[in-house]
């Protein structure tokens, strides 16, 4: 294949008929402070793991809301659970608890689908 010096970005179209958005409701129930997130990115900018990998809590949040669980599972495994993000969140979101709960929900969801 030829290389012209640029690439094609694949579309990010969400198919609402084939996507399962129920996990978001469960997370909102289990980690209530998650509802207060305004997506400011303070968590991502202070993240220690992001210094050494391309990990981004902001991206995790977006993938979870878009029900892209396969991609999210890999992303979440990069988190060291240090909790610095929780300290800087201006909205008091329990980000560490949010990531733990996301991991649990995705694991459960995977087991249910198997």
């Amino acid at each position: 294949m030829k290389d012209f010096g640029y690439s094609i970005s694949k579309g990010r179209t969400l198919n609402y008929d084939n996507s399962d958005f129920s996990l978001k409701k469960t997370l909102e129930h289990d980690v209530v402070s998650y509802c207060r997130c305004i997506g400011c990115g303070a968590c991502a900018s202070t993240c220690s793991a992001a210094k050494f990998t391309d990990f981004s809590i902001f991206k995790c949040n977006m993938l979870f809301r878009n029900a892209k669980y396969d991609e999210l599972e890999q992303e979440l495994s990069k988190c060291m659970l240090c909790g610095k993000c929780t300290l800087v969140c201006p909205r008091g979101v329990n980000t560490r608890g949010m990531i733990l709960e996301m991991r649990n929900l995705i694991e459960k969801n995977k087991n249910n689908n198997e």
Binding site: F4, G5, Y6, I8
Partner: protein, 353 residues
């Protein structure tokens, strides 16, 4: 001039009947010069209209303006010079070939209308620069508006229709109206920004069927600065990729455009996508032919495809001509005006010619 009808009048447009001043397009006359020649032929020989192709015309600066290189007053003054050529020639109806130009002419005219001080400043700048004066056009219509207005008159003269000669079914066409045609100033487009009918009207009148698909109103991907900088071209080709992926399931026979930029990018990016992704959007691996309104009109009127310049496109149009039943001589495809054979272009690795 045909006046607006009572109902849906916000979606109609007044288009002059005759006596046009034609403004050429930088992109179209560089890449598909036959299209503009055909428009002039159709206007003069088929419709018997008075249209002038002024020899001293120049760019409108649209590409520079939309890449933030040329400031507004420079653009307005250069456009004023074009209007001064029109005034000097004794014409009042302005017909740009390019959709980018059309959108920008309307932007400048509307600015002058709502802020008359800018008009006076432009007059002053033009006079200081080249001692010229100008009148505002009475009517401004894109060349696709003109073809749309006379679509039924042209149909009576057409040798072919958009019918598949093998199946007898209407050919299925995708229409792509350039963003600057009506998305910027909806009142200046036939059908407005919501229901632009200028190209769909042509396909339907000439026997074809218009495909409605999810990304029908999405940008072609040109986007000026998204293309001009190499590292940004990913944005440009990704938009075209999205459109082509969206139209693929409907199996279009051709794409019809009115903007030279859209025409070029929907055509050329099919080559790039084929070479980088090994993906084409028709059954034979040749791609979907992309025609402009003038080229389609000329083709159906029976003009020689090679005089129209269809060989200048990246995706070749023989498959479409075979479906319509248009006779053509393959030996003349790469012949010059004296009949001498020119060296044919290199073949792509993946896209079939």
């Amino acid at each position: 001039m045909e006046l607006k009808k009572r109902f849906w009048n916000e979606y109609q447009k007044e288009i002059a009947d005759d006596h046009y001043f034609y403004a050429r397009s930088c992109i179209r006359q560089s890449f598909n010069p036959g299209a503009e020649a055909m428009f002039l032929n159709i206007m003069k020989d088929n419709l018997h209209k008075d249209i002038i192709d002024e020899a001293n015309q120049h760019t409108c600066t649209g590409i520079g303006y939309h890449t933030d290189i040329v400031p507004f007053y420079t653009t307005a003054t250069i456009m004023a010079r074009l209007f001064s050529l029109m005034t000097e020639a004794g014409y009042k109806n302005y017909v740009p070939s390019c959709v980018t130009s059309f959108g920008l002419y309307v932007e400048v005219l509307e600015t002058w209308k709502h802020d008359p001080e800018t008009l006076e400043k432009t007059r002053e700048y033009l006079y200081k620069a080249c001692k010229r004066e100008f009148e505002l056009p009475e009517n401004i219509a894109h060349s696709s508006d003109i073809i749309y207005k006379f679509r039924n008159e042209l149909k009576k003269q057409m040798k072919y229709q958009l019918i598949n000669k093998h199946t007898g079914q209407p050919l299925r066409g995708v229409e792509h109206v350039g963003c600057h045609y009506a998305k910027v100033f909806p009142a200046f487009g036939e059908g407005g920004a919501e229901f632009p009918y200028v190209l769909a009207g042509l396909i339907e009148s000439w026997g074809g069927e218009v495909i409605d698909y999810p990304e029908r109103r999405h940008c072609c991907g040109f986007g000026f600065r998204n293309y001009l900088v190499l590292t940004n071209r990913s944005y440009s080709v990704s938009n075209t990729y999205k459109k082509l992926e969206s139209m693929e399931p409907y199996q279009p026979d051709f794409i019809l455009t009115n903007c030279p930029g859209c025409n070029m990018f929907l055509d050329r990016w099919q080559y790039t996508i084929a070479e980088t992704q090994h993906k084409t959007y028709d059954a034979e691996g040749k791609g979907i032919p992309v025609l402009s309104h003038e080229e389609l009109a000329a083709l159906l009127l029976g003009y020689d495809p090679w005089k129209i310049g269809l060989q200048m496109h990246q995706v070749q149009c023989e498959s479409l001509m075979d479906k319509i039943g248009i006779a053509y001589n393959p030996d003349e495809k790469y012949a010059d005006i004296n009949g001498n054979q020119l060296t044919p272009p290199d073949k792509p690795d993946f896209l079939k010619i």
